[in-house]
Symmetry: C2
Subunit: 689 residues, 2 copies
């Protein structure tokens, strides 16, 4: 035990293990090796992505079943590189063999925009004569161009420019002082940047011009608050300590905690990837999910005026949830005993880069896990819950997305996303109304309506890879009130509809029936309930896609047309809006709609299926969201139903437990109990009397 | 400061303050006084309830505005007493004057069942010859009658017996050993108990008999787990300490924390009552809600066979959320620095009784409150959130409801309810199928489908008592794709529908439009957004009432027909299903439907309104829920929208903050930061390198 712990510490401190798990992200050494192999044959490239090409499922499954006899899957790098003239190359490099196994020029696509790509635009914009001219028209003199900033987005799609040239739209802002929030000073025009020539090629200028906002700055950084009266002083510390350490262990990146085992991967695109998730059910290691990730998202804005239709960022496919990941800090982002994992990426020049502390792993107390009191004698058992949180936070220009994968002792997996950061804003003139497409959140600041729609990719392996998805609705029983079969009209049941083909499986949310979706293994019945073992998707924040059918967003973000899509597993189907998302026209739609159209009647019954779930929220801004938004959480649950034969957390040590015979024999009641740590707020030690 | 703290401690330790706040629950002395005053005139009564008759709003508002000049509202006891022959008396006792101001014999109603009422039935059942006979028929010999148990419910409503006589239905169980969970051994028949004569007056026997379950016991108390292999040993402690004490203060029962002020009341029926909730907005104390409580609930079961239609408990109106409240324990139900409040009730004999530690007040760390990083230089501010939790837990026979009122620093109030405890179960024969109305959760144990529907009563006072409720839907803008007004089809906005009359205000949930409801003060516009100041109800667990229109449950639980009802404020309209709920037929429906029918076209625009919100979940049991259910949480949010002019939590001290100029000047980045308490999981102290 001690030795194991020391080995674990050693491996964490050096960042190395003897041999990488096939799901481990590429290391800095592997990234460098992949780039070197490519450079032997190709030059004059810059790198967009060098990431793990995950082993094919069939190969990986064979190896996992018998690692001693089956050859270990090779380490393969998935490479995107860009040459002169915005030429895009997709390649695969076998790192075990040291060979390039695929290298293709891919026409008519644009890979995502990296943080480096973003950083270039601002300096170009500031020097561009036409931008300087536009600034002058709205009240910014040429001498103030160093106060001009931009958030360079991908152009999304603009039919005037198509997808042949790599373009960015520069959302323009101004800072009176370098520390002032630029979102209070949005500019009304939008330059278009050519990433190949590094020039401004066009400027979109509105018909009605809007002068630079004259309102006072509003900021939230510490110096600003100090100047406005300082911080509140009535908040006493809450300390969270784990004197005996954490309850999880790590073997490489395989995390074990409270019967759970999960491999924690990470890539530039999806951020965290959870693979090979199993639950040790009394010694029987049962597969639950083969792979889960947040696979895509889209944030459509609701203002119909040009060029705001271009504001519908695919933050994962167009920028990369991994690339935008924050470096986390002890006691800031998480409290207690924390384990961090770093993330390694390639940069534009082909050098490996590391984001320290990209992933945070920690435990939290989670309140009451279960409790029951017998009203007869007050005999009682109460047990507290623990949860394991695996998280990262990424910054998408103005917005922050905090992603928490949470494992519970009762077999539930929860995905919680918190939205914080700053609203995207646009200029408005004095007297202009922001309604109905936005809200004036501060004088002269128009925050447009928008949706945050996330696509969760779930590859279930509920007691095996062959699963079936059912839509489940709570519905009334047959028979009118007074009928023989339903005399009192109170009959209701769970109506299950098999989603048998991709075409039939496009299903929407229905709040009135509390609709859920079950991923079931119909070959394995629960011995008690005789129902298939399953995991149920419970998701309640499921707005409709508000851009209309046939609209630009509807075409590009096909995954968001329905709450749930189901497809047959395919190793190459990972990205719901396509592999390369920027500047896709949606004609035809990439990703999910294309896959379904290719084979709408494929059998999804008792086979290897993938469930895609789009959820999120519609955000009508208000002044409370400004100048920085209080975090707004959203939750999706994956709950075991008929999977276990009993509550799988019964053996979690209780805080207190008494049985009737003990109460009768004089055992102290629950009020005599303290945990030795908790205290009364106003005086007194451990006694509650 | 020290003096204030000492006074506070003293008042908490003695449980007395000089003069009661008019919203304070009756004390034990006041309960005793009320009973004594009644006993001077009436004898041969037993007491059902002696509780605070809350001051009328108009009188209370006048007093609060000028406590020095306006007479303090009298302390008045609201009394329910029962005489011989199930005669029910409703009375009011003015404790300041020492007089009975109202005393009425109320015909044809039955007040709720108290814990004492419940306790009586079991001993009667065990001795009843017909019950002993029925036990014999299903395999329980007379010598085992001490192993027979019952959960005595109100009868709900049974048309064969009406409401003239006070009745209970005894849900029957068996315990092989006194410590075995009886829910594994449900009996198939149901005796009816007359509470007046204390006799069994009828037994409902099913056509198909079911023998006593022969499965082995399944238990969750500590001794049982020890015998089954013991507790898991890999869970390390998490300690939560508050070395400088709590951040809240109490003046009597007025709780102040992070700009919030709220009076914490408690009664036998609703449990916690939160009154006069205000938010100190930079020195301006702004009213938000006049009164909030969980006012009613109903748990309809979905099995149509007689007599299961009677299983639809109104846990608050038929039993009392206060009466069933648990006595809480340090470190078990809550961790950290805790303040408890006791609850005082009358007993059947007229004596005051106290539940110690009925209410728990404590703070919790709540993760990231807000965060933003500038991608240019990684300047960053991250601030952690705190929440204040005011909670109680009540046991409704088999089920536990944990009720958490949570105050957030950003102006949000959250009601979280966790469901735990044990499933209600019914007997089944070997080979019998529980589907579709239930699930076999353990051999021989049928847990029926059911809903948990809660009715939240919200009396808003958003910047004043005159408010208006709007239904808000996220909808597409007009104009097809390609039209001039909506060229890209991306337009969407918040459609607001004024709920102008009680008749028009019966509204259902619509998940597809992310429907919310705003309680707005249309006389006061946000200076920035020009929209009315408001609080928005965000609730996503809103199933339809599944019992059909015209059914018994539909008639009795009128409040559950719609997600939202709005009524004009009336001092006497507190109980959504009526003041006395047991044995109501629903003909006519009591409470909300009656109030609306009396005046469907009353003006609700810019006047004193009350919003009633029914939410909850539909529960299809599974073996994971047995033998005790992992807690399942549900959340309702009340969020400020256009209420503040900015994020009201900006002055919460950050964990870390740097501005661009500081980064440029060499300020340490966020990764150098630790809070002095958090640690790395595997070795290392505060350094994250
Ligand atoms: Co938003
Ligand atoms: Co339930």
């Amino acid at each position: 035990m001690v030795l194991e712990r020391l080995q674990q510490m050693a491996s964490h401190l050096t960042g190395q293990v003897a041999q990488h798990h096939p799901f481990d992200p590429l290391t800095t050494e592997e990234i460098a090796a992949a780039v070197a192999i490519i450079r032997r044959e190709y030059s004059d490239l810059f790198f967009n992505a060098v990431t793990l090409w995950e082993p094919r499922k069939a190969e990986m499954t064979r190896w996992l079943a018998s690692p001693a006899t089956v050859p270990r899957p090779h380490r393969v790098a998935d490479v995107v590189a860009i040459g002169r003239g915005s030429k895009v190359y997709d390649g695969l490099v076998d790192l075990d063999d040291g060979t390039i196994v695929r290298w293709e020029l891919t026409e008519g696509v644009q890979p995502l925009i990296t943080m480096e790509d973003l950083q270039i635009v601002e300096s170009v914009v500031r020097k561009d004569a036409k931008v300087i001219e536009q600034c002058g028209l709205i009240g910014i003199p040429p001498s103030d161009m160093h106060k001009v900033y931009c958030d360079p987005w991908t152009i999304g799609y603009d039919e005037r420019f198509g997808s042949g040239v790599r373009l960015q739209q520069a959302l323009m802002y101004y800072r009176p002082h370098v520390d002032d929030s630029q979102y209070t000073y949005p500019l009304d025009f939008c330059p278009i940047f050519n990433a190949d020539t590094q020039e401004i090629v066009h400027i979109d200028v509105p018909k009605v011009r809007r002068q630079l906002n004259t309102a006072s700055p509003i900021n939230y950084h510490a110096d600003a608050i100090e100047k406005q009266g300082g911080f509140r002083k009535d908040l006493k510390p809450i300390n969270i300590t784990q004197p005996e350490g954490v309850s999880f262990t790590l073997d490489g990146r395989t995390l074990k905690w409270q019967n759970w085992s999960v491999h924690v991967g990470f890539n530039y695109r999806e951020g965290m990837v959870l693979s090979n998730i199993t639950f040790n059910d009394k010694g029987n290691v049962r597969p639950v999910f083969w792979r889960m990730s947040l696979a895509e998202m889209v944030v459509p804005y609701g203002n119909p005026e040009r060029p705001h239709q271009r504001k519908h960022a695919f933050d994962l496919g167009e920028y990369g949830g991994g690339y935008m990941t924050n470096s986390l800090a002890l006691g800031c982002d998480c409290k207690g005993a924390i384990h961090y994992m770093d993330a390694a990426f390639v940069n534009r020049a082909g050098e490996p880069q590391v984001i320290k502390n990209a992933i945070c792993i920690h435990e939290e107390d989670a309140g009451i896990l279960f409790k029951h009191t017998d009203f007869r004698d007050e005999s009682c058992t109460v047990t507290r819950a623990r949860k394991l949180v695996v998280s990262h936070v990424f910054t998408a220009a103005n917005y922050e997305y905090c992603v928490y994968w949470i494992f519970h002792q009762d077999g539930t997996i929860q995905l919680e996303i918190k939205l914080t950061g700053i609203l995207n804003t646009y200029a408005m003139n004095p007297g202009e109304s922001a309604a109905p497409w936005g809200t004036e959140v501060y004088p002269g600041v128009n925050a447009h309506n928008h949706q945050h729609l996330f696509c969760l990719r779930v590859d279930p392996s509920v007691d095996g890879h062959d699963n079936t998805v059912f839509q489940v609705d709570a519905v009334q029983g047959a028979g009118e009130v007074g009928s023989e079969e339903n005399p009192y009209g109170n009959a209701f049941y769970a109506k299950k509809t098999k989603l048998g083909t991709p075409g039939a499986a496009m299903s929407d949310y229905d709040g009135s029936t509390s609709r859920t979706w079950e991923m079931a293994n119909t070959s394995k019945l629960n011995p008690y309930s005789k129902k298939p073992v399953s995991y149920k998707l419970v998701s309640r924040e499921v707005p409709s896609l508000l851009p209309k059918e046939g609209s630009l967003v509807w075409k590009r973000a096909g995954f968001a047309r329905h709450a749930v899509h189901v497809t047959k597993y395919d190793d190459d189907q990972i990205h719901p809006a396509g592999r390369h998302v920027p500047q896709t026209s949606g004609e035809p739609s990439q990703g999910i709609p294309a896959w379904i159209a290719a084979n709408p009647d494929e059998n999804l019954d008792n086979t290897d299926v993938v469930l895609w779930h789009t959820f999120g929220l519609t955000h009508f801004p208000s002044p409370e969201d400004y100048p920085v938004m209080p975090a707004e959480p959203m939750t999706v649950l994956l709950r075991p139903r008929n999977f276990f034969t009993q509550n799988p957390a019964l053996d979690v040590p209780p805080s207190y437990s008494s049985a009737p015979s003990q109460i009768a024999a004089g055992k102290t009641g629950i009020r005599g109990i303290v945990d030795g740590i908790s205290r009364l707020a106003f005086g007194g030690g451990g006694s509650t009397q």
